[in-house]
Symmetry: C2
Subunit: 146 residues, 2 copies
Amino acid sequence: MRQTQSVRDRLLKANIKPSYHRVRVFEYLMATTAHPTAEDVFEELVKEIPTLSRTTVHNTLNLLVDAGLAHLVTIEAHQKRFDGTTARHGHFQCRQCGKVYDFLAPANGNDPPELEGFLIEDRELYFRGVCRDCQERETKKGGTDS
Amino acid sequence: MRQTQSVRDRLLKANIKPSYHRVRVFEYLMATTAHPTAEDVFEELVKEIPTLSRTTVHNTLNLLVDAGLAHLVTIEAHQKRFDGTTARHGHFQCRQCGKVYDFLAPANGNDPPELEGFLIEDRELYFRGVCRDCQERETKKGGTDS
DNA sequence: TTCTCTGCAAACGCTTTGCACGGAT
DNA sequence: ATCCGTGCAAAGCGTTTGCAGAGAA
């Protein structure tokens, strides 16, 4: 419950009233590494909060992103994914299984010279390809594709 | 017109029949640095090809991306942007004016160790913040926000 | 003739908006 | 009594799909 307390404080600092729903959404987001979509968050939380609505989840997630408390992951074009981690890191999405992996961003702090004078607030590194599991699956199958 | 020729060749190599529409879409994509959306491409090309339809533009852009001839830029969640450049580079989007800037990716060839064994086919670097122009605009205004 | 590119219109999926209810202060 | 978080339903927006017509080989 003390985590809840710190969550409340962080919301308060961001001028977001820490209602029960908002606290739960924020907690869930920080606890998971699955880069959930708004729908994912809703489906998980509605189990324990049956009256929860999608609108509230959307509202809350947008509030969190606007306040800088959550990250927007746009590695897929048709939907928003959210990330409660504020640490700088990247995402890899496998084009076969669709899974999104986290990785720590390489520690090359230097930003490109073209962006001198730009205020950089957010850095996202997106890699796409085929994950190890899917490659092994391919290898096992060999040329069995007829 | 010789560029058209090379465009045709590249399409042919990718097993895409170089129809007139497809050639024009691909040419346009390679000529611009504006990271157009499908709608942008449509609105530009429909001026010279009045019978062009959005469906064809979408189809063609998806073909190009699947063939690796174009890049999908998902820096915004609600729409797809396309990029005809195959060179490794990054994008910066200003949260005030919405403009997307290109920059050459920093030459940090080393990929994160967590992704060892992963087949990395595509690397995208997305920065968000406030561009120089918008910062200057803010500075000029000072506290004039009423 | 056959193949497939094209285009219209409708369907689709996710997000946002409008509005009214209800709890908290 | 006022404020504002909440939830339902509908609208919105860009993308995809189904199907029929036209053009190329």
